[in-house]
């Protein structure tokens, strides 16, 4: 049985922990709002880009000379997995759910006899994946020093992916990140980057009859846009990831604060009981002593 002093110390320590988790929750909530705004601000660009590319690629799909980014290399032997995770932990299942999805995917591909290369973005994912896929990790990018996530960072990742693709180092690229659904729900998602896939947009019958003039040519624009699209997709994923991270952290810290509260209640209860027992014992001792006289 712990002594009274021990219990007192434990209550103090749990209270201190609760203060920290509460503060972290507040910070996460504030940052979540900003991250969510950023993710929303980026949406119009990504949507328009998708719309334009969908119509351009539909027109170009059958061409033999279609850009490789669109049609792929025609093989699917070497896979590149771009795994985007957080820089920090203490965010519930956020990092581990992305990592689990990526690992399952990688193991499945390896079982099929494919070559797997992994590019990790974010320290957490890199640390964990390095343990089991040490030889598969080809590159690691961290945004530890970055305070505000900008397009520049996405461009850096995209540049690396494109360089590797142009050098023929892989055939298919898949991006792993957590899609932000709500504060309590973040879904780990795998999205194919190369060859490009577009969500099909239904076009109104009259809209499809619009004939564009292209300046310069259609192919040149497509070739210019496809690499840009990779960067935009990555940017979108990074922003979603960021929002998901803070969402997950917020609910994790909320839980932690609540757990700490429960624990304090329980400890206080046993502290009080113990104190009462001690007082009773003392009284009995005194009375017994008085009677003996």
């Amino acid at each position: 049985m712990p002594s009274l002093k021990d219990l007192k110390n434990r209550i103090a320590s749990v209270k201190a922990t609760q203060k920290i988790t509460k503060a972290m929750k507040m910070v996460a909530a504030a940052k979540l709002r900003r991250a969510q705004e950023a993710a929303e601000a980026a949406r119009p660009y990504a949507e328009r880009m998708n719309k334009v590319l969908a119509s351009l690629s539909a027109a170009n799909a059958g061409n033999a000379g279609a850009p490789l980014l669109l049609s792929g290399t025609g093989k699917d032997q070497v896979h590149l997995l771009v795994v985007a995770t957080g820089e920090r932990g203490l965010a519930g299942g956020f990092n581990s759910s992305i990592i689990r999805l990526a690992r399952e995917h990688a193991l499945k591909l390896i079982a099929e006899g494919k070559t797997v290369k992994i590019l990790t973005v974010g320290r957490k994912g890199n640390d964990v994946l390095r343990r089991s896929f040490k030889d598969n990790i080809v590159h690691y990018i961290t945004f530890r020093e970055v305070r505000q996530l900008g397009f520049v960072q996405a461009d850096e990742v995209a540049g690396k992916v494109l360089d590797m693709f142009n050098a023929g180092e892989f055939d298919v690229a898949t991006l792993f990140f957590a899609r932000f659904q709500s504060v309590i729900a973040q879904v780990a998602t795998a999205q194919q980057l190369i060859p490009a896939r577009f969500e099909t947009v239904e076009q109104p019958a009259e809209g499809s009859s619009v004939h564009y003039e292209y300046e310069p040519s259609e192919e040149e624009i497509l070739e210019d846009l496809l690499p840009k699209n990779i960067a935009v997709q990555i940017f979108k994923a990074l922003l979603e990831n960021n929002a998901s991270f803070y969402g997950a952290q917020m609910s994790a810290m909320d839980n932690a604060t609540r757990n700490a509260g429960d624990m304090i209640n329980k400890l206080t209860l046993s502290y009080n009981r113990k104190r009462q027992a001690q007082i009773t014992t003392e009284l009995i001792e005194i009375i017994a002593g008085a009677e003996a006289l």
């Binding site: 601000a41 328009r48 334009v52 004939h211 564009y212 003039e213 292209y214 310069p216 624009i221 935009v232």
Partner: protein
């Protein structure tokens, strides 16, 4: 009246403008072009330069864009910029820093195509620098 149309300036980071305008001048790849209402559907790439927007109210706003592309329809014009900034917020310093980063990137670039692209970008930026400093 058919002389106003919707103009949108979007960068990956945010939506800058979404308003009714009467006239927009954009720095297209093959030279500057002025877009008015009822323009033929056109898709064009943009080089770094100044976008001049004349609102339906007559007010004129200027933005500096760093490349991108524009989707022009008879009743709308959407400019997807890689990066954009209102012209009055742009200082020669920001531009200078951008030029320096591009130069650094050029130093590291290996592929010929990549190099040409960066060189072109650098020329455009330098030209832009001239315009902004003069203004």
């Amino acid at each position: 009246m058919a002389d106003a149309f919707i103009f949108e300036l979007v960068s990956p980071e945010r939506l800058y403008v979404s308003e009714k305008v009467s006239e927009v001048v954009i720095p297209a790849m093959l030279g500057e072009m002025t877009v008015l209402a009822e323009h033929a559907p056109t898709m064009t790439t943009i080089k770094p330069g100044v976008v001049t927007v004349k609102l339906a109210s007559g007010q004129v706003n200027k933005y500096v864009v760093f490349g991108g592309f524009a989707d022009i329809l008879p009743d709308s014009c959407t400019l997807l910029a890689d990066a954009a900034i209102p012209a009055n917020e742009l200082t020669p310093d920001t531009l200078q820093r951008r030029i320096e980063t591009t130069q650094a990137e050029l130093g590291k670039a290996t592929g010929d195509e990549h190099k040409t692209r960066l060189e072109q970008f650098l020329t455009d930026l330098t030209q832009l620098n001239g315009i902004v400093v003069a203004a």
